[in-house]
């Protein structure tokens, strides 16, 4: 999952980025409304964590602009204002969820997973494909109830494929959602992860569609 974090407090932004990365998410952080608009126009994110009080305006403006251009990316508002009226206004503006500062990092991660699950139309927290099960909350994978140790990136690639089984995912698309801007994309890494996954879970699981990308083979 790739998240856009819009927060102007450097310490908090750094903490959220580090914490969500540990939870298996890819985080891009910006501090201004203008940067958020640019990032949203340029990249597809799975969810946006949006602070309300930003140096060059209100997070609600960013949100309103997103919804106005039919961008349905789930948005979670972060704010230090705790008046009910503020929450109502935020939600009515098109936000999907709301967290008051200070918050619990685990709760933030859980809410983001819930948002992603809901936007993907899934009811079950676990991702399943035949005998394969992924738990996004603990980054644990199992095949026929036998735990399979996966690295963070391997888990991310596999969960992206499992979110929409049968749909071909382009390599660039996988790469985009795997790496934040600050991270350098090494060439052929997606191939390396797919190779590792095939080694751990069996060769027949991930199918290469030559020249297009990858998809999960029906179980």
């Amino acid at each position: 999952m790739r998240i856009l974090l819009v927060e102007d407090d450097a310490v908090l932004a750094d903490g959220i980025r580090a914490g969500l990365t540990l939870a298996g998410l890819t985080v891009d952080a910006v501090a201004r409304c203008a940067d958020a608009d640019a990032a949203l126009a340029d990249t597809r994110f799975d969810a946006v964590v949006l602070d309300l009080m930003l140096p060059d305006g209100s997070g609600l403006d960013v949100l309103a602009a997103m919804r106005a251009r039919q961008d349905a990316t789930p948005v979670l508002l972060l704010t230090a204002l705790d008046e009910t009226a503020d929450r109502v206004r935020g939600l009515d503006c098109g936000a999907d969820d709301y967290l008051g500062k200070p918050f619990d990092l685990d709760e933030l991660a859980a809410r983001l997973r819930a948002l992603s699950r809901r936007s993907g139309g899934r009811a079950e927290p676990l991702l399943r494909h035949g005998g394969l099960a992924l738990d996004p909350s603990s980054l644990a994978a199992s095949l026929d109830d036998v735990p399979v140790p996966l690295s963070r990136r391997e888990f991310a690639v596999l969960s992206m494929l499992m979110e929409r089984p049968g749909v071909i995912r382009a390599r660039s698309e996988l790469e985009e959602r795997l790496y934040g801007w600050q991270e350098e994309v090494e060439s052929n890494t997606v191939e390396v992860y797919v190779h590792n996954l095939r080694a751990k879970l069996g060769r027949g699981l991930i199918e290469t569609v030559r020249g297009v990308g990858y998809r999960l083979r029906a179980p």
Binding site: D8, V11, D14, G15, A18, L22, P102, F103, D106
Partner: protein, 446 residues
């Protein structure tokens, strides 16, 4: 406790009493002179009457046979009459008249002392008949007459006075009822109720008081709203760094590697420093808001500035220049407010100075202006006034560089010193120029 009702009651009662007393005195005086006149005329009349009855040469002592003495204390037989011959014989006297001589040698009215009593007498001397006719009455009786008259007036008045007092007391209570109503209205309020007191039906005398109360209520309400705003802002501003601290602490706890943990701990230290600065500034603002002025003393500006600069953890890459002329600048002012002002302006300047930049403090305008310049990005013209507001951070400022309180505190400290703060971008180079203009007046000797 002084009571308006008791005070008015005493005033009214005393005034009424005084008026009554003067009325009694006046009536006493007037009726006395009237009485004297009437009684004197009667004396004269009686003397003439007796005189006309006495025949010439008639020396008969039987003309007025002695009768029993006058009943003491009654107004009857007030008049006494004596007829004397020129050779000093008492020819006749009325009953009750003293035997000793009442007459004087002169004709007309006289006051005479007879047997220890004062008499008012009228004498007719008739040389032809060789007699003197004297008619008199006792002055004591006249006095009693006047006293009885006054008593007749005063007794009912004294009896009515308590009744009048009660009436006044009750009327005052009625008259002061609007005041009590307003008082009850205010007393019934809770501490939150700052609505204006309704002047409906309030008498014009207490309107000024109600107006003053309403003014005070409005001021208290404004002060409280201001305080609430500040508290809400402060809560908001403190929550973000708290959220940062909590998040970083959780990262440090969950970090699988030392690098991540070290980074999180460093961020925590950074955040604690910044938060404590924020708290310090909030306290400074609260102190400034509370408005209690500090002690005025002679301060050498240069010394105060060096103290502030030395006490501050500064960026090692930023050079600080202090004009030597500042060491000669002496001013009598509130030292605490000055230090607050200098610290916040210096902090602001150092924070915004460019890397390897310079902050310069200098004196200008005949030593009346203190100037600080940095070489940072400056402030956009449309934000020049906004930056003085609390918690406003310039759009051009580095992300979360400051608390947004520094210039607001500076502004208020300057006001406390009677000085004005002028913000502007430097004309000679990039950067902000803040001028503290002190009021004209003796800059102190030095």
């Amino acid at each position: 406790m002084s009571s308006l009702r008791r005070r008015l009651f005493l005033i009214l009662l005393t005034a009424t009493g005084l008026i009554w007393l003067s009325a009694v005195a006046w009536i006493g005086l007037v009726s006395r002179s009237e009485l004297e006149h009437v009684l004197d005329t009667r004396l004269q009349e009686a003397a003439r009457m007796v005189h006309s009855l006495v025949m010439a040469g008639d020396g008969a002592a039987a003309a007025f046979p002695e009768t029993e003495p006058a009943l003491a204390g009654s107004y009857e037989r007030q008049l006494s009459c004596q007829v004397w011959s020129f050779d000093g014989r008492l020819i006749a006297r009325s009953s009750g008249a003293p035997a000793s001589e009442m007459a004087s040698d002169r004709e007309g009215f006289a006051d005479r002392e007879v047997n220890g009593e004062t008499w008012r007498v009228y004498t007719i001397v008739d040389a032809q008949k060789g007699i003197r006719v004297v008619v008199g009455d006792r002055v004591g009786l006249r006095d009693r007459l006047v006293l009885d008259l006054i008593a007749g007036l005063a007794v009912p008045a004294v009896l009515v006075l308590p009744l009048l007092g009660l009436l006044i007391w009750w009327s005052l209570g009625q008259g002061l009822r609007p005041l009590r109503r307003v008082a009850a209205d205010i007393a019934a309020r809770d501490g939150e109720d700052m609505r204006p007191v309704t002047p409906e039906g309030a008498p014009s005398e207490i309107r000024p008081l109600i107006g003053a109360l309403d003014g005070l209520f409005a001021k208290v309400e404004a002060a409280r709203r201001h305080e609430r705003d500040i508290t809400a802002f402060a809560a908001h501003e403190l929550r973000t760094p708290l959220a940062g601290l909590k998040t970083q602490a959780q990262v440090a706890l969950a970090a699988p590697d030392d690098g991540t943990r070290q980074q999180a701990l460093k961020q925590i230290l950074l955040s604690v420093d910044r938060t404590s600065r924020l708290v310090r500034q909030l306290l400074a603002l609260a102190r400034l808001d509370s408005g209690s002025p500090g002690r005025i003393e002679e301060v050498r500006i240069g010394d105060a500035l060096r103290e502030v600069v030395d006490a501050m953890p500064h960026r090692s890459d930023v050079a600080v220049d202090i004009d030597p002329a500042l060491d000669d600048a002496l001013r009598a002012l509130d030292r605490e407010a000055l230090q607050l002002l200098l610290r916040n302006l210096h902090e602001n300047a150092v924070q915004h100075a460019r890397e390897g930049g310079r902050v310069r403090w200098s004196l200008a305008g005949d030593g009346r202006s203190l100037i600080v310049e940095d070489d940072g990005p400056g402030i956009a013209d449309d934000e020049m006034e906004l930056v003085r507001q609390r918690f406003y951070r310039g759009k051009g400022a580095r992300v979360s560089a400051g608390t947004g309180l520094g210039l607001s505190i500076s502004d208020q400290s300057a006001a406390r010193l009677g000085a004005k703060l002028h913000l502007g971008n430097r004309a000679d180079a990039r950067g902000l120029r803040v001028e503290i203009r002190f009021p004209p007046g003796p800059p102190g000797h030095g």
